[in-house]
């Protein structure tokens, strides 16, 4: 059994009267990618800030690498890599200078900034001021910064939000590589497709509480409805699409009838997305 690296127990945070994170409990194992999904304001970032030692929980506790983060934040942070939702780089310094500064703070010996920059696709522009970088380049540099200390846990807050497909692919590849190397990845996102692709398990967070937590496939099987979509030619030369639930009692009969008409153009099955399941569980969309 793999070692647990993150353990949240009844973790709670209140901003005055507002409970941003409400008694959440979960565990994440070494090398696992956990997708932490929810709409804006659901409590994702507050949870990450507690797990990384930036905020002290109002109630409950979080154990990171077996240490209570509220009590030993600085010891634990030595092993964490954090990439923030909003860009927070030193824009008047180069990528190289940004990385060298953080390498010194982590006391990383034999640090090869160029190798790291090449990994995130920024080699050749390492001496340019970050203010000249595109959003995607900045996001990749933030990821490089989070990887400087070869972290045992990587916290990524919306790492691909608003990025071009190439930048997103680069970041996805790095997440997979980190996970394969034994790094736990705590991925906060509201991109369900990304979570579906990368996460071993996903947690749906809504109004500060975890509404569901499991492997994407299990969630789909449990909550999702599989559908057969059939495109049919009608009598006037047009087309229309029929959706037939595959789990219904009359499914076989309905499918037989449609195909018997001889007007079927295409047919394919469609499974529920994580977004559909999120809506079904929480009654709200991810952008709400």
């Amino acid at each position: 059994m793999r070692k647990v690296t993150i353990s949240a127990r009844e973790l709670t945070y209140r901003y005055g009267d507002l409970t941003a994170v409400d008694h959440i409990s979960f565990e994440v194992a070494e090398g696992e990618v956990l997708g932490f999904l929810g709409p804006n304001g659901a409590g994702k970032t507050t949870a990450v800030r507690m797990l990384t030692g930036q905020l002290r929980p109002s109630e409950g506790s979080a154990f990171i690498l077996d240490e209570d983060i509220s009590k030993s934040a600085k010891q634990v942070q030595q092993y964490l890599g954090v990439s923030f939702e909003t860009t927070n780089l030193y824009e008047d310094m180069s990528a190289l200078e940004n990385l060298e500064l953080f390498a010194r703070l982590f006391n990383v010996k034999n640090f090869n900034a160029l190798e790291l920059l090449e990994k995130v696709g920024l080699s050749g522009r390492e001496k340019e001021r970050v203010s000249n970088y595109s959003k995607g380049m900045k996001q990749r540099l933030m990821l490089a910064r989070a990887l400087i200390n070869h972290p045992r846990i990587l916290f990524l807050d919306e790492p691909t939000d608003g990025l071009d497909p190439v930048s997103s692919q680069t970041i996805h590849a790095i997440i997979r590589e980190a996970s394969a190397g034994g790094t736990t990845v705590f991925l906060t996102t509201h991109d369900m497709v990304e979570a579906d692709k990368l996460a071993h398990r996903v947690a749906f967070i809504n109004k500060g509480q975890i509404a569901a937590l499991d492997q994407p496939a299990v969630l789909k099987q449990h909550y999702g409805k599989r559908t057969l979509k059939i495109e049919v030619q009608d009598g006037q030369g047009g087309t229309h699409t029929r959706s037939i639930p595959l789990d219904g009692s009359e499914t076989a009969k309905e499918v037989e009838q449609v195909f018997a008409s001889g007007n079927v153009l295409t047919a394919h099955t469609e499974e529920a997305t994580l977004e559909d399941i999120f809506i079904e569980i929480t009654g709200r969309g991810l952008l709400g």
Partner: protein, 354 residues
Amino acid sequence: MIRALIEKDLKLYFRNPFFALITLLGLASVVVLYYLLPSQADDSLSTALVLPAGTSAEMCAFLSDAFESDLLDSQEELLKAVEDGDYQAGMVLTDTVIDALVSGQPVNVPVYTAPGTSDDMKAALTDIYTAGLNNVNFTAAQKQININDQIVVFGPDFLGINEPLALRDRMLPMLIMMIFSIELMGLANLISEEVLRGTAKALLVTPLRTSQFFSAKMLLGVGLAFIEVLLLVTATGKLLVSPAILVTDLLVGGLLVTGVAFFIAAFATSFMSVMSWSVLFLLLLMLPGISIMFPTMVSVWIKAIPSYYLVDTLHRALNYGAGWGDVSLNLLILLASGAAFLLLGAGLLRRRFR
């Protein structure tokens, strides 16, 4: 870690074209301004006198000496010279006036003063002319006026009565405060940007402690402010006047400026906000410098502004050779104010990191 942060902040400070420019330009301008100001105090009063035509040469010399005035030829010439500021005051003595004086009669003589002369100065001029007129009277009556006008000053002569201070030396504490103020804006902006751009958050999820973050900022602020004002003092040739007190005062002054910068950064929400708060504090902190330039014009409440203890110490040490005993209370108050601002600012900033 602290060293890494200081090196980073120095890079960022001087890569900001605005602050790099005003720092270097400000320092150069203040040094140039210092040397452009008069190096000697000119406290003399220049007055003029018009005597009736036909006054004997002996009488002209006597009256010119009695009034310590230059002699002009006509009332028109005198009025124009006074109006142009060539003389601070002037008086016209007619035959009637001189006759009345000689015979011991009271006289009524107008005194013309330059535009903008203060009431205090007008009163002083009137006294001088009255003394001169009395002197003429007593001389004519063969009785010399005999007034003992020796002035004794206890302690350092802060009014400059015995040895008048050159304007530039009187201004030096305020010029030093100006350099401190430039530094105040730069440092407040640097700290505020760490908060506004979220870079402080990135730093504080590393093994760097909040106390180390603040220590780095404090060392940078005090160091930068100290070096800048030290350069100014060196350039003005005042460094060796009272080096130990000077260095201590400038270091503690740097602490005060850094504390105020922390305080501003804790409130500022943008670059413009930093500038607005800085200007407000800058004006307040500069006020005590004015009290040095015009000692009688400022009320006692000026002592409620912490920078008073900085400029007052500078003024006493640089211009009057004051010793530790004279300035130690000033330095203590300054240190306490600096520490209070620093702690308050750091406390408020810490709240913003959450």
